[in-house]
Symmetry: C2
Subunit: 294 residues, 2 copies
């Protein structure tokens, strides 16, 4: 398998799905739609929809019902970045090498564009019922909303913000990681499994794999914030130190952090290989995520 | 019918439903849950859930499926106020006589509490499938998400903000009214009708009644912003003038505005009385909304 080629094909496929589901810039409210599209098209790895679709395929999922959920999870991820970048939050002016949404459109529109993306995510996911009216779609919707809310991503963000400048311990750090980054990665893979009709055992195994990936992904992020350059990352390095954020690296040192990333990814790959069904690309994707340099 | 007594009973019933559905202040993320509950419990008329439930009853709706939607629409309404009050938006420090959420919890938590309420609204509405797995619930979810998003409330907010300090015409003003305030009122009554199993004709009639009510309600709001006092309203009067907002009153004068409110409400009541089913309380509620002084 030419992983690089397959990765590009899939990224393009996801961008086409996003094009299909994102609203067209038109009408009196066109500024907010423009801001939504600006933030979505700023790029990114499309990791969440990719993990979702690959898990869907792993369990033999077929049909279009996965598409609105792929679009929705990327919208939720993107809104969280738009709001995170606001002056009252992390106050970041650049992301992925481009000016952040509130810098281009103003703060009020940054808030509204984030709200609009979150709302549109649920509008999009709800449209999956037009494709398939089955209970597993309702279950997927429930996972999406729970994992992005106070018992998921938002919960993690809140504790992350409250922890700034404080000496928090491993316990709090793990809560932030599991929720702020982990919850959407778990949601992605879990929704893929559920919509493909995986049984409860397989679903639980996928949740555990996704938790490992999410944690490894976040630690790698913290490592890159120290070892990478602004050019490579497309955003300022050293921002954790600037914001006085406790990270796995600041608590445990860079060597232990690198070892933990290796352990987590190996465990995830082992569990993945225990399934009867195989998805070689998914395994390669997980390896890539861990070794990534941006 | 003792309207005042019935109104209090229904308001209490809605507050109990909100208590049931709102998350409990607990866990590591308790600050955001506390902020969500603060903004929800700041009061308000509970107009949207009330209109929803009364329309549900008008068409003979039974069972609990309406409850999560009643809670959800109040959460959406409340999040929109929390974000509207932010410094980057209307910058209001008081609402309903209480300090606004961002003043009490800080700006970052104000943004997150709003996000959390919006997200929790969909989490709550999605839980209606556990009560009843039928297509009309999917339809209600679609109405809720559309009317609160860019083709509804958020669309209206965007144009409202972009219009500040500009000489906009009737056309733009009607767009803002129909969407910023109107869309959620339409959604409330439409969802009530849909979940009760009303046919398409009745649903369309309800949408038209709700549009009239929404428009009348907004004009009355603009009138009160000029004629009322800060004590009665619980928020500063004259804020439209301060924010250089064009309103129906500033475009047409207060006499024409009062006449328009009367015309719209009469039309709404006439349409309501044309249904075979009757809901005396709903008719009285509509009258009260128009004559209200806060």
């Amino acid at each position: 398998m030419d992983f690089k080629k397959e990765l590009n094909l899939r990224t393009e496929e996801i961008n086409n799905i996003l094009d299909e589901y994102m609203p067209k810039t038109d009408g009196k409210q066109k500024t907010v739609i423009d801001a939504m599209n600006y933030s979505i098209s700023a790029g990114g790895k499309r990791l969440r929809p990719m993990l979702m679709n690959e898990t869907f395929k792993l369990f033999g999922g077929e049909g279009d019902v996965i598409k609105p959920f792929m679009a929705a999870i990327e919208m939720i991820h993107t809104y969280s970045l738009v709001h995170d970048d606001l002056p009252a939050m992390d106050n970041d002016e650049y992301r992925r090498g481009k000016k952040t949404t509130h810098v281009v459109y103003g703060e009020a529109m940054g808030i509204l564009a984030g709200d609009a993306l979150l709302n549109y995510a649920f509008e999009t996911a709800s449209s999956a019922f037009d494709i398939l009216f089955e209970k597993k779609v309702a279950k997927a919707l429930k996972i999406l909303s729970e994992k992005s809310g106070i018992y998921g991503m938002i919960g993690g963000q809140v504790v992350d913000i409250e922890s700034e400048g404080k000496k928090v311990g491993t316990d709090t750090l793990e809560f932030v990681h599991a929720n702020k980054t982990g919850a959407l990665i778990v949601a992605s893979m879990q929704i893929g499994a559920v919509l493909a009709g995986a049984d409860r055992d397989d679903e639980n195994k996928i949740v555990s794999i996704a938790s490992d990936i999410g944690f490894a992904f976040q630690i790698q992020d913290d490592i890159l914030d120290i070892t990478s350059t602004t050019e490579t990352l497309g955003k300022p390095v050293g921002s954790d130190e600037k914001n006085e954020k406790i990270t796995y690296v600041s608590l445990n040192g860079i060597d232990k952090a690198k070892k933990e990333v290796a352990t987590l990814s190996e465990r995830a790959l082992n569990k993945l290989s225990s399934f009867e069904n195989k998805n070689e690309f998914l395994a390669e994707l997980i390896k890539m995520l861990i070794k990534r340099e941006k």
